[in-house]
Amino acid sequence: MNRDESAMGIADRYAKVDRDVLAAMKRPGRLYLAGLAFTALLVVIGGALWAYQIRSGLGVAGYTHPVNWAIYITNFVFWVGIAHSGTLISAVLYLFRARYRTSFNRAAEAMTVFALMVAGLFPLIHLGRSWVFYYLIPYPTQRQLWVNFRSPLVWDVFAVGTYFTVSLVFFYVGMIPDFAAAKQHVAGIRKRIFSVLSLGWKGTEKEWRHYGMLYLFLAAFATPLVASVHSVVSWDFAMSIVPGWHTTIFAPYFVAGAILSGTAMVITLVVPLRKAMNLHEYITDDHFESIAKILLFTSLIVSYAYIVEFGLASYGENVFEKEAFRYRALGEFRYLTWAMIFCNSLVPLTLFARRLRRNTTFLLVVSLLVNVGMWLERTYRPTYVEVGISLGSFGLFFMLYLLFVKNLPVLSISEIKEHL
């Protein structure tokens, strides 16, 4: 806090928080509109290619024996993974009472919800006949036949469906008091929308008492999801007998990878957000240092998992397993494997240096490299349809995110005031 602020009365400081956080909602600049147009274009391209794929069949996505999931499962796993650190930051850090959470939680929760929306599209895209997706949902059919609950695909429906619903409720509940605060600063249709979204919240002691308990329980319910959802996703692979996949370490390995990629994505999103919206007072270098430590820690776990994976294959007597890993390290796609190890295991080691942890530009570079590295985890040569649809998914995610920063409170107003 600088000297001007300590001289300010507390009421002025509360008002300043309102102003600073809601300043993001002003008329967008050219750069913002250009970004929005670009991401929307990617969505349109992705959508058109999806339509083309539906019309022509999955062959255009390179589906042929033995390739039957291709890049769509990579994208699914990638986006579900991205979602994870949102929950970690908002729920787990809440339970641990970590103060720096306040700087990141809203951005992270939004990221979780949007990443899950994007992730959820990929099983549908992969289906080919996307409109029969409801076969996966257990409902009483005419034939009285129910879904096969022993199938990992059905576990996915339950795990990801639950995750999305709980994350959405958590995201929304966190914003209820902020909607009530924000509606006092806007006019017109926005005021009406915020009033409805605030549910008529007034801030009485009764509301706050129940709200505190609700938030605590939602955090407690969301926390086990951090470990369980990506474990279930990993079992999509591990329940198969494909060499290189059929292994028991997949669940913890995926969870660590998810948190690594998600934390990297939070940094990727929040560094530009802080700069563009001038939020240096609320999101400080100390906060970035704390989050960089999480990135470093999860990177070490992921590196350990890489070592164990190769260790299990080389010690075991399964020749197919051995060959799968030899191929990964030395075969056709070796450069991608090495790039992955470089991005996920070596680059984050630089974060042992305190000076680098506090340098947000450097953090942004590291986080982008980690995002690339995590995406490289499942290697394969894609067709242009797959590339286009994948780019479309990135477009959709960033478009939703851009819409979020202009339309909803990007930081938790009530929590920041509480900590003033």
């Binding site: 257990p138 009285q144 007034k202 002691e205 709200y211």
Partner: protein, 145 residues
């Protein structure tokens, strides 16, 4: 209802609130409105712990029961052996039960919160009554209650 007492600072607001309680104003007649949750209010006006937690327990427990009952009963209703697994395969059913425990628990906690806080409130949505960042104490008249 008496005119609202509006404070800019949390300290002064809490002081006045303590004063009111000391003066013998019954706690049920005092309402406060704050821009964020103030834990001290609960110490001054003890109302007991929020009952939202019972909704969490009942929701979560019903989720577990539903998860197991649903998977077991539907499997038994058309007993078809798939992949050599037993008809009632508890390990995979546990995954469904786990997911539903969390889903039902979270949704019922949210519903409990809405019910207990009387939200959404149409009056609250329509009302123009706004106190901004102020801490407010409202004392309701004795006779009306």
């Amino acid at each position: 209802m008496a005119a609202p007492m509006v404070f800019e600072e949390k300290g002064k607001f809490l002081e006045r609130l303590r004063g009111l309680v000391r003066e013998g104003v019954p706690g049920e007649r005092i309402r406060v409105i704050t821009p964020f949750g103030v834990p001290e209010v609960e110490e001054i006006l003890p109302r007991g712990r929020s009952k939202v937690r019972f909704f969490a327990l009942v929701g979560a427990a019903s989720g577990t029961v539903t998860g197991f009952a649903f998977t077991i009963l539907t499997s038994l209703s058309w007993p078809l052996i798939v992949g050599g697994k037993p008809i009632v395969s508890l390990p995979p059913f546990l995954i469904i039960a786990f997911a539903l425990t969390i889903l039902f628990g979270a949704l019922s906690t949210f519903a409990g919160f809405l019910l207990l806080s009387r939200l959404p409130s149409l009056r609250g949505i329509r009302s123009g009554e706004e106190y901004g960042n102020a801490f407010v104490i409202l004392v309701e008249d004795g006779e009306r209650r």
